[in-house]
């Protein structure tokens, strides 16, 4: 039914993402896109840290790389990550959005256009409103939208901004997000 999962987060989201990757089975049948705010100049270490407990491979995609199911794709440092038509990534170094490159909004908007109602969009803990508009676009295209329950967030700015402007289907605790994704085993 769904064809891809797009997850956005910044401050306080790392552990939640790590738990999600740890809970997904190795034969998970969708691509998982991760757009997480990160330091511009630190290129290595993030993928390695997320890979530790993940059952599916975690990679930072190259420009024009084809998208495959059963892989997690982390937006690389200092690039925007777009989902391009033709089932490929396109990277960009254009201006930051909400001071962020990678921008969660841009990843979400392009994924919403590519996958339309076959996309699950998830906004996690974060200290910036980048992502809220992107989640709104996911909802407008008919995708399923989930926001981490602000009560469970280290930093609530991103989730609260999302709840304000986007149609959100579910507000879930981190454990419930994991349960929800596991239904797609």
């Amino acid at each position: 039914m769904y064809k891809a999962i797009m997850i956005g987060g910044s401050a306080g989201s790392f552990q939640v993402v790590a738990n999600i990757l740890n809970a997904l089975p190795s034969d998970f049948d969708m691509p998982v896109f991760l757009c997480l705010h990160r330091l511009k100049h630190v290129r290595s270490g993030f993928v390695e840290a997320l890979s530790l407990k993940s059952n599916i491979p975690v990679v930072e995609p190259y420009d024009k790389e084809p998208i495959k199911s059963g892989k997690a794709y982390l937006a690389p440092a200092n690039y925007h990550m777009f989902i391009e038509l033709g089932n490929r990534f396109a990277l960009s170094t254009e201006e930051p959005v909400h001071h962020s490159r990678p921008s969660i909004d841009l990843s979400f908007i392009t994924a919403a256009q590519a996958y339309r109602n076959k996309l699950i969009g998830i906004i996690l803990s974060g200290a910036n409103k980048d992502g809220a508009y992107g989640l709104k676009k996911v909802a407008e295209m008919g995708g399923h939208t989930i926001v981490q329950d602000p009560a469970y967030c280290d930093v609530k700015t991103m989730t609260e901004a999302s709840l304000q402007i986007a149609h959100v289907d579910q507000v879930l605790s981190p454990d419930k997000i994991v349960d929800f994704l596991n239904k797609f085993k």
Partner: protein
């Protein structure tokens, strides 16, 4: 000269449709014989949306009218369509690799090696390279060729103009590069605008070159071309890489952005010699 601060963020809510997108490309092709059809769709569409907002044109028809009637505007459009490098000394580890490994090797067997920077937009890479070479004492022993889409871009780079919003990250990058001084030694801030010391590039040979890479320079030892191929489709990407291959001498090097690859078709032309920094060598066997 367009040195306004273009760091401002643009509304994501303004979007053009795919038909408008195709119309803009068609009009540019008809009016100026400039072909944007092999550009990556998502990025180019966002550039169009940005330009419409930047010039307060409200919708696509006004942009198209302006493009049809105003040849000067088209030159500004070309400058703004191109995505600038994000800052100076982006990926400090690459610049350290250039200084400590690659450049010493190149200068060992060459009296005056040619280095080519294709499709310069804001000059950040060019000034960074000039600073590296100056600090190595090799700036006068190098022939640097910079190709640009038009005179506006060449004038911008020659003026030394340095977008103010890039200075902070550039300073941090240079500190990580561990140069001999500090980056601020090479530029001055005047009000909202920063200006680089343009004497750094006084010997650079500037050339105009269209997007098809016609009349490319030859006998090149090193090409620095980072994060521009990401804006093209695979087809144009491959065609440009073949031109770059022809321009390089045997054993010459090509540096792409850290998340760019030469790709399947062109992998037979280039050997990857430094994966982390995306440095390739023209395959001598071929």
């Amino acid at each position: 000269m367009n040195i306004q601060n273009i760091s401002m963020e643009f509304s994501l809510e303004f979007e053009i449709g795919i038909l408008d997108y195709r119309n803009i490309i068609k009009v540019i092709k008809e009016t100026y014989d400039y072909d944007f059809s092999d550009f990556a769709l998502t990025s180019l569409k966002r550039r169009f949306e940005r330009i419409i907002q930047l010039h307060n044109l409200k919708h696509t028809d006004l942009l198209i009218e302006r493009l049809r009637e105003d040849k000067v505007f088209f030159q500004i459009f070309l400058q703004e369509i191109a995505v600038e490098s994000t800052e100076m000394f982006r990926d400090p580890s690459l610049w350290r690799y250039l200084r400590d490994d690659l450049l010493p090797t190149i200068f060992k067997d060459n009296y005056k090696p040619k280095i080519w920077l294709p499709h310069c937009v804001a000059g950040d890479e060019l000034y960074s390279l000039a600073i590296v070479l100056k600090e190595m004492g090799l700036i006068n022993n190098t022939e640097i060729i910079a190709t640009c889409l038009n005179d506006l871009i060449i004038d911008f780079i020659n003026s030394g103009a340095f977008r103010h919003y890039k200075t902070e990250t550039s300073n941090e990058n240079y500190a990580r590069y561990q140069g001999t001084g500090k980056l601020a030694d090479y530029y001055q801030v005047r009000g909202e605008q920063a200006f680089r010391d343009s004497s750094l590039i006084k010997n650079v040979h500037f050339m105009k070159q269209n997007i098809n890479f016609d009349n490319s320079p030859q006998d090149i030892k090193l090409i620095l071309y980072r994060n521009q191929l990401i804006y093209y489709t695979q087809g144009l990407h491959d065609r440009i890489l073949k031109v770059l291959y022809e321009s390089l001498i045997s054993g010459g090097h090509l540096i792409l952005g850290t998340k760019e690859q030469v790709g399947m078709i062109c992998s037979k032309y280039f050997k990857l010699v430094n994966e982390a920094e995306s440095v390739y060598k023209k395959d001598i066997e071929r």
